[in-house]
């Protein structure tokens, strides 16, 4: 796997292959350095999974792409536009191409699930209410939440809220989808369901996806490319590269995961299915 480091050293190929690119990003939270010259790229129309321990900066990386957090120095390019230099108003234009699933869902709690999912359509399209209703229902069925339209987020579990938030994220078919821990808190059936949905969207519509996850097995199954965050920098490559890596920090992460409650055997089938069709 390639390790990021110096100036414009975007790993894994020339910079124009990447839809999203980090270039020498430095970021500190209090005394803790989150990113120390992070340079990496996220390939166009592929599923990019970001792995790393807690506090490695996975959520912060997504927030940097969305322009919600500004780095101390360095650049973050989204489709060749440096979002770190854009004003809030200019960012709205860039964000129109991005859908982001937040870890907590971030659904508006004063609105029903239907109103939440319909919101981006009502704000940014000229669709009729009838078409909006049909689209919202279709998306809610796709995430396994039929008949929840008129419930409020507080009436759903955490996992259901996250699925409803995913429906809202993808309802406009954005070019770029950012998902912060989409599998956490989900049962195995729903992990498979969401995984299949994301893969289908990526394959059918060619969406560029960046997914942060602790869920190694699903990450290895889905990912076209993995970016492993460690010590404020990125190690990137294919899932096969990750499993072949001799980097001690990667090995330690894999070993820790295989010692987890689901045990070592889960990595082997994951590798076998990593080259899915």
């Amino acid at each position: 796997m390639a390790t990021s480091g110096g100036q414009r050293a975007v790993d894994g190929g020339p910079a124009d292959e990447f839809r999203i690119r980090f270039d020498g990003v430095q970021l500190r939270r209090g005394d803790r350095r989150v990113f120390d010259g992070l340079s990496c790229g996220f390939a166009r129309a592929q599923i990019n999974v970001v792995l790393g321990g807690s506090g490695a900066g996975k959520t912060t990386l997504l927030r940097l792409i969305g322009g919600l957090t500004r780095p101390e120095s360095g650049s973050v390019y989204v489709a060749d536009e440096d979002v770190t230099r854009l004003s809030e108003r200019e960012l709205f234009r860039t964000r129109a191409r991005i859908g982001m699933l937040f870890q907590g869902g971030a659904l508006l709690d004063s609105m029903t699930i239907f109103e939440n999912v319909a919101l981006p359509l009502r704000e940014h399209t000229q669709l009729s209410e009838r078409d909006i209703a049909a689209e919202v229902t279709r998306r809610l069925v796709a995430v396994g939440l039929p008949d929840t339209e008129y419930l409020y987020p507080r009436q759903l579990s955490g996992g259901m809220n996250r699925r409803a938030a995913l429906a809202r994220t993808i309802v406009t078919d954005p070019e770029i989808v950012l998902c912060d821990e989409p599998f956490s808190g989900l049962d195995p059936i729903n992990v498979r369901r969401i995984e299949a949905l994301l893969v289908d969207l990526n394959r059918r519509l060619g969406l560029t996806m960046i997914i942060t996850s602790h869920h190694l097995a699903s990450s290895l199954r889905m990912a076209d490319r993995i970016v492993f965050l460690v010590d404020g920098r990125a190690i990137a490559g294919t899932p096969e590269d990750l499993l072949r890596s001799t980097d001690q920090r990667v090995l330690e992460f894999l070993r820790a995961d295989s010692d987890g409650p689901e045990g070592a055997p889960r990595i082997a089938p994951a590798v076998a299915s990593a080259g899915r069709t």
């Binding site: 709205f92 964000r95 982001m100 937040f102």
Partner: protein, 259 residues
């Protein structure tokens, strides 16, 4: 010792000026989105309901109670001078000029202003505001402006209701309990209140207080730290700062009106 004090004073002043600058920019942003399409009338109506209709009980009850106390105190004082016939004027002027707008603003700050700040701050904490940003929806347009405008609509009306219920409270105590002539109470009240000096002043005060409460509550909530302590600080900060601002501006408006 002295240079340290001077430098602290300097930094404090700079901080205050930059803070006021941020508040002015925030207010400008609210003004800009308020006059721009889409107008979000449904959200505005919902917010007027939250700030106004849900404050009706506390405002009406407080108005009647304050009016009753004014009637009692006024009667006791006026009876020493044999001027109980002026009770309507005492109750009316006190309520219209001062107590109506000021007490209503303080009550609404405690009930609706604090709730507004807490709601916005918890939206910040739970990522709902960032969620709107990521959907390319301006949170100031979608969340803040309807709340601030609702305050501007609701508070003057609540103030008028407070004053009316105050008249009624004074009437009940003065006329029904203490035996004053009802016609005398009402005619004294009518004769003493001047539209330009009293009613207009009351209206200006309540509009200014509404702008203060709306701005302070939304600003504090919107700029809250995304933690539970941040929600609490935004709520208490709103009540303290808005209450002080109301009392300060009350003096300023009264002084300017007298010039």
């Amino acid at each position: 010792m002295r240079p340290a004090f001077v430098s602290r004073l300097g930094f404090g002043t700079l901080e205050l000026v930059s803070h006021l600058g941020r508040v002015a920019l925030f207010l400008g942003h609210i003004g800009r989105v308020a006059v721009r399409k889409p107008y979000r009338l449904r959200r505005l109506v919902n917010e007027v309901f939250d700030s106004g209709v849900l404050s009706l009980a506390i405002v009406c009850l407080s108005g009647a109670t304050v009016g009753a106390v004014l009637g009692l105190q006024g009667y006791t004082t006026l009876s020493r001078f044999g001027a109980t016939g002026s009770l309507g004027a005492v109750v009316g002027l006190s309520l219209v000029r001062e107590l109506g707008p000021v007490l209503t603003a303080l009550l609404v700050t405690g009930r609706a202003g604090s709730a507004m700040a807490a709601e916005i701050a918890s939206m910040v904490t739970t990522g709902q505001i960032d969620g709107l940003r990521m959907m390319s929806i301006d949170p100031v347009d979608f969340v803040i402006a309807p709340k601030a405008l609702a305050m501007l609509i609701a508070l003057p009306m609540l103030s008028a209701l407070f004053t009316s219920f105050g008249f009624f409270g004074g009437y009940v105590v003065g006329v029904e309990l203490l035996g004053l002539d009802g016609g005398m109470y009402v005619s004294s009240l009518e004769r003493s209140i001047d539209f330009r000096d009293d009613v207009a002043q009351s209206l200006v005060k309540s509009v200014v207080f509404a702008a203060l409460v709306g701005t302070i509550a939304t600003y504090r909530g919107f700029h809250a730290e995304p933690t539970s302590a941040g929600v609490s600080a935004a709520t208490t900060g709103t009540v303290v700062v808005a209450s002080l601002a109301i009392l300060l501006f009350d003096y300023v408006i009264t002084a300017l009106w007298s010039v």
